[in-house]
């Protein structure tokens, strides 16, 4: 196989698992509460910016810097749920659609004023020397191989947690029947808040992983968030494996289209493919139709 295709494939898998991670965030909150944080891109940006601030500006060692950044992301998830989702779902309103976007814009601008608009660089020892196989430069950094590994592992962990822990079972129960779950003594409110925290945390992980490959700035997440949402819908937002697979597909498609047809066509063809896929399978590639039992 052509070496360029190999490198495009690896690069696409790396990008794809980023989309997958963020799309998983959409899946989790949607499964538990039927709502999503439309500004997942901002959560991703927050992860990258906080990681930069703790590790570069404040010169913390990497582990506490990452841990603290993730904690802050999770807290931000709670804020999103508390301020932008709960007040509206309580009243049966769909205004969370708009309020999550609005909160994301507020966050973007807050970061712009505090962090600055100037793009910064988050260095990583995993993004310095490109990988070589048998003396051939693959044009990918080790980090780009680690990203899909982290992405798939997190999906696996989530799957395991959902099936084998009390907390996971509670989430699944909430997903299946809110009222019954509440009657069984499951704290629905806390389960939903926890889902938002987890969702934002996943976006934060994506942001930190992507930061050494990209530039850190306040609007780095905008396009990402949009693509991740397309991926979530493409995968069928009801299936955790589906959204991750759709993420990988999307990333690889983008990369292969660019390398074969040229960058002028990337957005046109990938998004057109999304529309075609949804027209053929309205519930997403791996999703099931929601059945309303009466």
């Amino acid at each position: 196989m052509d070496i360029q295709l190999v490198s495009a494939l690896i690069s696409g898998l790396g990008m794809g698992s980023m989309y997958g991670l963020m799309a998983l965030g959409f899946y989790i909150t949607y499964a538990v509460s039927g709502t999503v944080n439309f500004a997942q891109g901002s959560s991703m940006m927050l992860g990258a910016v906080l990681c930069f601030t703790f590790s570069q500006t404040l010169q913390w060692p990497l582990v506490p810097a990452v841990a603290m950044a993730l904690l802050c992301c999770a807290l931000y998830g709670l804020v999103v749920e508390f301020l932008a989702v709960r007040p509206f779902t309580r009243r049966g309103s769909d205004a969370w659609l708009m309020s999550t976007v609005a909160l994301g814009i507020v966050l973007d601008n807050l970061v712009m004023h505090t962090f600055g608009r100037e793009p910064r660089s988050l260095p990583s020892s995993l993004a310095i020397t490109p990988l070589e196989v048998a003396g051939v430069n693959l044009a990918v950094y080790p980090l780009q191989l680690i990203i899909p590994v982290v992405g798939l592992s997190l999906a696996l962990v989530l799957h395991w947690v959902a099936r084998h822990t009390r907390w996971g079972t509670a989430l699944l129960a909430t997903e299946q029947n809110k009222d019954a779950a509440r009657l069984m003594g499951i704290p629905i409110g806390r389960a939903i808040a926890g889902a938002f925290a987890l969702s934002t945390l996943l976006a934060g992980v994506a942001g930190m992983l992507i930061a050494p490959l990209a530039n850190v700035n306040s609007d780095m997440g905008t396009l990402f968030g949009l693509k991740a949402f397309s991926v979530a819908i493409l995968g069928g937002i009801t299936s955790p494996w589906g959204v991750v697979m759709a993420g990988l597909l999307f990333g690889v498609a983008e990369s292969l289209i660019t390398v074969t047809l040229g960058s002028g066509y990337t957005h046109i063809i990938t998004f057109a493919l999304v529309i075609v896929a949804l027209a053929l399978r309205p519930n997403g590639l791996f999703g099931r139709a929601a059945v309303k039992k009466v």
Binding site: Q4, S7, A8, S11, G14, M15, M112, G116, R117, E118, P119, R120, S121, P123, P130, N137, A139, V140, Y141, Q144, I210, L213, A214, N215, N217, D219, M220, T222, L223, F224, S255, T258, V259, G262, S263, G264
Partner: protein
Amino acid sequence: MLRAVKKWAALVLCLMAGGTLASEPVKIGLITALSGQSAQAGESITRGLQVAIDEINAAGGVLDGRPLMLVRRDDEANPAKGVVAARELIHKEKVAVLFGGLDTPVSMAIVPLVNQAKMPFVGPWAAGTPITKNGANPNFVFRVSAMDEIVDIAMVEYAQKNFGARKFGLMMVNNPWGESNQKGLVAALKDKGLEPAASEKFDGDQVDLVPQLTRLRDAGVDTICLVGNVGPSAQVVKSLRRMGWEVPVVSHWGPAGGRFTELAGPGSEEVHFIQTYSFFGEQSPVGEKVIAALKAKYPDISGPEDITPAVGVANAYDALHLAALAINEAGSTEGEAIREGFFKIKQYQGLIKNYQQPFSPEVHDALSADDYVWARFIDNRIVPVALSR
């Protein structure tokens, strides 16, 4: 009692009015980004203008003794805010000449307004070709800066001369700026009987540009022409390094707009880009004078490395001197007369060059390809290529 006070007050007011008429300041307006990402660029334009204003005022001002006074407004890089600020400066502050900032879209939004209000508008930075070539008659817009169309020609010539470039690969950021330079570069290449070997676009926040660059390499490209802001330009350098492709990169001045060395890492010094002036190396007497004035006025400047971005300071300095000459030629602060005044300027020994008849009804850009300086980053400093070898 009250009547007496009123009488005195009236008298004092009359005296004040009469007293200020002779030396009433001539206001110079500036609309640029003074906050956010481009704050430093806006500050550099301010400093260039202010140093020139101080010089002129120390020598007796313009129009037989009237001092110049700078009035600034922040456009926040937003065309709508720029237009509001322009209206205020033209109609309320009644400036004699208006200076623009670094964003082409903001200047493009102000251009129709100044042509309608007959207000001379001088661009010390924004390089968009249609700012001065705006089709208006009479055209009140002048520029002392690089211009995309000419930069594109200069990039092609520089690549041919210094890298023996024959197969050009274009890497253009996916926005109107990249689009307009793409056209300019294709035209510049056509004049040389060439066409691009390959041409690729990339988004500002794209993470991996290896696919695009691979296409350029496969097309046999021997030199890359790059147009993009500092972040995207850095992504190009990073992806080149990842591919292990060592290819000359000739760039518009995007990399000069931020922490290029930090963002791009090793390999950033290989990118050669356009500047209009450098305060490094041997300076003309005007250069010495400006550096000394900047050091004296601004405590954060201790040498040429602190005068940054250099293009903002240098372009603004020369542009203000030219505007002052135009006001003196006009003999008034009336817009149409000042516009004619620009055409009457015969000669001015400036910082960037010795201007000979810099403007005419056909030529509204004072700088040409010969006036550009090619530079690159050495550590965090922008150094002319000729001095860094």
